[in-house]
């Protein structure tokens, strides 16, 4: 298990835990990021935000926010 911010590009991952609460957790949920959903990092240039693929859509997510999303390889 590791944070999404540590993931390598183009690897299929599964979300294990989302350490966000309240409104932002809701927002992530409705955009497709929630426990047990699949995710793939498209771009992970340090520093800066990440680009991820979730259910076929591309999302930009801040690095700080990605650090609170735990994933594991499939």
């Amino acid at each position: 298990m590791m944070s999404l911010a540590m993931a390598t590009e183009n690897e299929n991952l599964k979300i294990v835990q989302v350490w966000h609460g309240g409104k932002f957790q809701k927002r992530l949920q409705e955009m497709g990021i929630y426990k047990d959903s699949q995710i793939k990092v498209i771009k992970n240039d340090i520093p800066g935000p990440l680009i991820v693929d979730v259910k076929g859509s591309r999302l930009i997510i801040g690095r700080g926010q990605a650090q609170k999303i735990m994933v594991e390889g499939e």
Partner: protein, 722 residues
């Protein structure tokens, strides 16, 4: 004629507006939802023998109570009960899009699904079985292409059909045993205790389990919800005990589970994800090292095009107003009324309308950049810098860039920022970007004092504006906008070819609002300023004896520590509040009055007409130079203009009487930083829906301007620059 009320719903970037524009064209009305700063778009069109009334609901991903847009959408669906809701779906992104669909089904909406962007879906290798999808959902599914007419007829036929025989499909959804059992229980109690609610009780039950604050409030308000609320507490406890998670998470899982089932039965996906054209472009545009140069290039082109096209057009507007003023003055003769119309209304409103072509062109280019999907990439690329320097997201950078052209579109562009705090903070710093209206002021003063270093002096002012913006943002972020930086997540839509119609309508919407709202406020204040400059009756317009002149005389000691304590400089600052370039024309007027300095025997009127023309040349010259990107050194090479105001030795003499080089620089710094112009304040007022923020912006920028100018002047004195 029968009327059909249609609501368009869907995620952002699915082509909702494109379909709306295609259907309604210019027969649309843009306003705000009552009491909200969310845009409300309505329109109408005829189809067959039906009058179609369309409302474009704000784009959102869900129907929770967590954002204003979502509350607006669901209140509309529950309260207004549109005949048909057309849910536009991005076929290439079916699963995420269906999440909203499912929630509308829960709400008992009469739905038609319009599958859009099928071409892109096919490019990704997706095969969607519409028939299967429609059967599983119990909702008609129509394939369309919003950018052309594909499927349009079929969609409209279906809308008519569905409006006559509504199909509400509450029974299709499956949430798994655990969730279903509890909702059924809740439903029963709701039906018994509070049967008079608008929305289906199954939806209310679900929302209660999601701990939706708005719905809980509604239940409490009925006064009969004790049993329901007690039950919900029990259910929450149960979920926590059994799953270690709240019911909310279980419901989300269930929805996505239901959708995953649907999709696996009706969509064929390729084994390996296909690389789309959009991905290929992104490899370059969002590249670690290439991203920023590409962004800068696009911004540079945006300015180049805006000023190349906008400046001459603005010149025509200015000429038109000058002509109008002269004609009126000539036909009406000297008099109070003439002065009111020419100096007050035409001078004030005309001065601001000069920027309309610039603003429209900028909006057009921006709309194209936005519709194509590039702006989202720009936000991605700039996030790194903005984060470190200011604690804002990359998205905030776009309004700041626009601020170099004009702060008004910059402030309007903050609409793309979802977080209210970030949005306010961005609005407050955008006015520090040195806009095109300030250039003529610099050009004028620089020519009188710094002719050897004019490029560098002007460049230093641009830089100062950016530095001050960054410092102020950093301070605000630690004080009034304290707290964690808002979390950043946004969709990166695939690149799309913008449609001409869409971009033009987009431009018009934004531009027309500027014309209307800013126009009315500016008109009112122009009249006030004119009155102050003309009263008491009989004084020379804007002279020291007028009310403004007297105010200038009284207030001027305030500015003495900054090096410009003369009443004329103060009056120019007061007028500059209307629009910053007015500072120039004020000195022009004052020079005209004290005409002996130039030794010219021209009448006041002629002199000011000359000056208007030359000022305009200066402004065109200078801004043209600025965007041409040739280093700032070459900026404002206005001395080639034979008639230019700053070439006039008399004028320079007057300026040199009023200022020393040091106080002149302090004055430019003050003009750069002080109270944003009226149009900007009006824009802040409109965007925040309150007078509080424009008032705050006015006060704090004044303080910042005062402090920085003070430091520049007094520091300069200490360092020995006289």
């Amino acid at each position: 004629m029968d009327k059909i009320k249609i609501a368009l719903a869907g995620n952002p970037n699915v082509g909702k507006s494109t379909l709306f524009n295609r259907w309604t064209g210019m027969r649309q009305h843009v306003g705000n939802w009552p009491g909200k700063t969310v845009e409300k778009k309505e329109g109408s069109f005829k189809y067959d023998q039906y009058g179609m009334e369309v409302i474009d609901l704000p784009g959102n991903y869900s129907l929770t109570a967590y954002s204003v847009e979502e509350v607006v959408s669901r209140d509309y669906i529950v309260g207004e009960k549109p005949d048909v809701i057309v849910n536009i779906i991005d076929a290439a992104n079916l699963e995420r899009n269906l999440y909203l669909t499912v929630q509308m089904m829960e709400l008992g909406a009469n739905l038609v699904l319009a599958l859009n962007m099928n071409k892109f879906a096919r490019e990704k290798g997706l095969k969607i079985n519409k028939k299967q999808l429609s059967e599983l959902l119990g909702v008609p599914v129509i394939e369309i292409e919003a950018v052309d007419d594909t499927g349009s007829e079929k969609l409209l036929q279906t809308i008519v059909k569905v409006s006559k025989s509504p199909n509400v499909v509450l029974d299709r959804l499956e949430y798994g045993n655990e969730v279903s059992e509890h909702t059924k229980q809740l439903e029963k109690i709701i039906d018994q205790d509070i049967p008079q609610l608008d929305a289906p009780s199954s939806w209310i039950a679900l929302k209660l389990m999601e701990e939706d604050p708005e719905i809980i409030k509604k239940i409490e308000e009925t006064g009969k919800g004790q049993r329901v609320l007690k039950e919900i507490k029990k259910i929450q406890r149960h979920f926590n005990d059994v799953f270690g998670d709240d019911a909310d998470a279980a419901i989300t899982d269930a929805r996505y589970g239901f959708i995953a089932g649907l999709v696996s039965e009706s969509v064929k996906k390729p084994k390996i994800d296909k690389v789309t054209r959009s991905d290929l472009i992104d490899r370059v545009v969002t590249h670690k090292y290439l991203g920023i140069p590409i962004f800068l290039l696009i911004m540079w082109l945006t300015f180049q095009i805006t000023f190349t096209l906008g400046d001459p057009l603005g010149g025509y507007v200015e000429e038109a107003f000058a002509w109008l003023g002269e004609t009126i003055a000539a036909s009406m003769g000297e008099g109070f009324l003439t002065s009111f119309i020419v100096d007050g209304i035409i001078g004030g409103v005309g001065g601001v309308l000069v920027f309309v072509p610039l603003i429209f062109i900028l909006f057009l280019i921006l709309s194209i950049l936005e519709d194509s999907g590039y702006l989202a990439r720009a936000a991605f690329v700039m996030d790194r810098f903005m984060h470190k320097l200011v604690g804002l997201h990359g998205k905030s950078f776009i309004p700041m860039i626009l601020g170099f052209g004009c702060a008004v579109p910059g402030i309007m562009a903050t609409r793309t920022l979802e977080n209210e705090r970030d949005r306010l903070l961005t609005m407050l710093i955008v006015p520090f970007m040195s806009c095109s209206a300030r250039l003529p002021v610099y050009a004028l003063i620089v020519a009188a004092f710094f002719s050897a270093y004019q490029g560098w002096v002007i460049f230093s002012l641009y830089l100062l504006g950016i530095v001050v913006a960054i410092i102020v943002a950093a301070i605000f972020k630690k004080t009034i906008f304290k707290g964690m930086s808002a979390p950043f997540v946004m969709e990166l839509p695939p690149y799309r070819l913008p449609t001409a119609k869409g971009a033009l309508i987009h431009m018009w919407e934004r531009g027309a609002l500027f014309l209307k709202k800013a126009g009315t406020i500016i008109l009112a204040l122009s009249v006030v300023i004119w009155a102050l400059s003309s009263l008491p009756v009989g004084v020379e317009y804007g002279s020291q004896e007028s009310v403004t002149g007297q105010i200038g005389t009284v207030l001027s000691p305030i500015f003495a520590p900054l090096g410009f304590g003369e009443w004329q400089a103060t009056v120019a600052i007061i007028y500059g509040f209307l629009a910053k370039e007015v500072v120039v024309s004020t000195f022009g007027t004052l020079y005209g009055i004290d005409g002996d300095g130039g030794g010219e025997e021209a009448s006041d009127e002629e002199v000011s007409a000359n000056e208007t023309a030359s000022v305009e040349q200066v402004s065109n010259e200078a801004s043209g130079e600025q965007v041409s990107g040739e280093t700032a050194v070459e900026e404002a090479s206005a001395e080639e203009e034979e008639t230019a105001l700053e070439e006039d030795p008399g004028y320079i003499a007057v300026m040199q009487e009023l200022f020393t080089p040091l106080s002149a620089y302090a004055y430019m710094v003050f003009v750069l930083l002080y109270i944003p112009c009226l149009a900007t304040l009006a824009a802040i007022r409109r965007e925040t829906n309150s007078w509080k923020w424009p008032a705050f912006a006015a006060v704090y920028t004044f303080v910042v301007a005062y402090v920085v100018s003070f430091v520049v002047y007094q520091g300069g004195l200490i360092m020995g620059f006289a």
